[in-house]
C-alpha cells in the first residue's frame, strides 16, 4: 500500500516545493516593487505634488498597506511552520518538572512559540494546573502567549524597525516572567474555582500526530489565510488614519500631551488601551505616527502592551476558572508592570 502511493506522493511533494519556491520569489519581487510603485501612482499617475500634505499621505498609505500585508503573510507563514513543532501538550510536558523561577522563564518563552487562541485559555489553564504546574508558572505562559503575538510583532517590525519590535518582545517576556513569579509568591491557589482541582483528565488518550512537511506547509497556509483575513481591514483603516495624521498634523504637536514630561500620560494610555483589544492591528500604525509627532516611546509601548495584553474578553473567559480576587490580581499585576515599563522607557530613552 505504501509503496503504491509513495511515487504519487513524492510527485505532489515536488509540486508543493516548486509552488512554495515560486511564492517566495513572487513575495520578494513584490516587496521590492512597493516603494517605486507607490511613488509612481501617487506622484505620476495621480499627479500629486511631492511636497503637498495630500500627496505625502497618499504615498505613505500606498507604501505601508502592501508592505505590512506582505510582511504579515510572510512572517505568519514562517511562524506557523515553527508552531507546528509545538503544541500545548508538548509545552506542558516541558514545563512539568520545572520549579518556580526557572519555570516562569521557560513558560514565558514557550508562550511565544506555542499555538494559542484566547478561546482555549480555560482548557489550557485547567490542563496546566491539573498536571501540577505551579500557578505562577501557568500565569507566565498565559501572559506571554497573547501579548507577544505574531501580528503585533510583525507590525512593530514593519512600521518601527527591529529595535522597537525587539524591545517589545523583551519587555513582554520580562513582564510575563515577573508578573507570573509575583502571582506565584502570593499563594492564591484558593482563589482558583474549586471544580478545577477536582477535574481528572483522561490520561490515557493522547493524539500524537505525525506531520509531514506537506502537512506543515498546508497548515501554515491555512493560518495565513485565517489571520490575514481577520486583520487586513483593521490594518488598512489604521494605516489610512495614520497616513492622514502623517500628512496633516505638524511635528511635535503631541509632545505636550503624550511626551515623556507628562507623568500621567502612561497610566492614561494603559487605561485607554484596555477596551481597544480587538483593534490591535489597527492601533499600531496610528501609534506609529503619534510617536513621529512627539509622543514618547515609553508611553506608546505601554499603550500597545495594554491594547494587546490586557483584554476584557479574555478576562471574562478566565472568570470561569478564577475567582474575583485572583482575576483582579492577575490583571492588576500586569497593568502595574506595563505602567512601570512605560515610565522606565520614558526615563532611559
Amino acid at each position: 500500500m505504501t509503496t503504491l502511493t509513495s511515487p504519487s506522493l513524492s510527485h505532489s511533494n515536488k509540486r508543493l516545493y516548486v509552488t512554495l519556491g515560486l511564492a517566495v520569489l513572487a513575495w520578494l519581487i513584490a516587496y521590492n516593487l512597493i516603494q517605486p510603485l507607490a511613488d509612481w501612482i501617487a506622484y505620476t499617475a495621480l499627479g500629486l505634488a511631492r511636497d503637498s500634505h495630500f500627496g505625502e499621505s497618499v504615498a505613505f498609505f500606498l507604501y505601508d498597506v502592501p508592505k505590512i500585508l506582505l510582511l504579515l503573510s510572510g512572517m505568519v507563514f514562517a511562524i506557523s511552520i515553527i508552531r507546528t513543532f509545538f503544541s500545548p501538550e508538548r509545552t506542558r510536558a516541558l514545563l512539568g518538572g520545572k520549579r518556580e523561577g526557572v519555570g516562569n522563564v521557560f513558560a514565558a518563552m514557550l508562550g511565544i512559540v506555542t499555538p494559542f487562541c484566547s478561546c482555549s485559555a480555560v482548557p489550557l489553564f485547567i490542563g496546566f494546573v491539573e498536571s501540577g504546574i505551579p500557578l505562577g508558572v501557568t500565569f507566565s505562559f498565559l501572559i506571554a502567549a497573547p501579548t507577544i503575538n505574531e501580528v503585533a510583532v510583525v507590525m512593530l517590525f514593519g512600521l518601527f524597525g527591529w529595535k522597537v519590535a525587539g524591545l517589545y518582545v523583551a519587555t513582554g517576556l520580562v513582564i510575563a516572567i515577573l508578573a507570573g513569579f509575583i502571582i506565584g509568591r502570593m499563594k492564591m491557589e484558593r482563589y482558583v474555582e474549586d471544580f478545577v482541582w477536582q477535574i481528572k483528565s483522561g490520561a490515557g488518550q493522547t493524539l500524537d500526530e505525525k506531520l509531514t512537511w506537506a502537512d506543515r506547509i498546508e497548515r501554515a497556509r491555512l493560518s495565513v489565510k485565517e489571520i490575514v483575513g481577520k486583520v487586513w481591514l483593521y490594518v488598512v483603516v489604521g494605516i489610512a488614519i495614520g497616513a492622514g495624521i502623517h500628512g496633516y498634523v505638524p511635528e511635535d504637536a503631541l509632545a505636550s500631551i503624550l511626551g515623556a514630561q507628562a507623568w500621567w500620560s502612561v497610566p492614561v494610555a494603559v487605561l485607554i488601551g484596555i477596551p481597544l483589544y480587538s483593534n490591535a492591528a489597527g492601533m499600531i500604525p496610528i501609534v506609529g505616527v503619534l510617536i513621529e509627532k512627539g509622543a514618547s516611546l515609553g508611553t506608546a509601548l505601554a499603550f500597545m502592551m495594554s491594547v494587546i495584553g490586557l483584554s476584557l474578553p479574555e478576562a471574562v473567559i478566565l472568570r470561569r476558572v478564577l475567582k474575583m480576587p485572583l482575576l483582579v490580581t492577575f490583571f492588576g499585576v500586569i497593568a502595574i508592570a506595563i505602567i512601570l515599563t512605560g515610565y522606565l522607557f520614558n526615563w532611559i530613552l
Binding site: 482555549s120 477535574i199 490515557g204 493524539l207 497548515r219
Partner: protein, 83 residues
Amino acid sequence: MLTIKVLGSGCANCKRVEQIAHKVVDELGIEAEIVKVTEYPEIMKYNVMSTPGLVVNEKLVSYGRIPTLAEVTTWLADALQAA
C-alpha cells in the same frame, strides 16, 4: 450509528467544526449523532487543551484546529469500518 462529539465552549471555530461534521455526515448519508460538549470537566476527559476538539466514537481525532472535509470524511469512514 456513530457518535461525533465537538469539544469546545462555543467559540467561532467550534461552530465551524460542527458544520463540517454535519456536512460530511450528510454527504456520506450515514446515521450519526453530533453532540456539542461545552462543559470544561467533560472536555478535559479527552485530555484536550486546545479547542475545538473532535471525537468520533469516543476516539479523539483532532484538536486545536479546524480539520478539512477530506480529513473528517476519512475519520468517519474509518470509524464505520471499525464498528
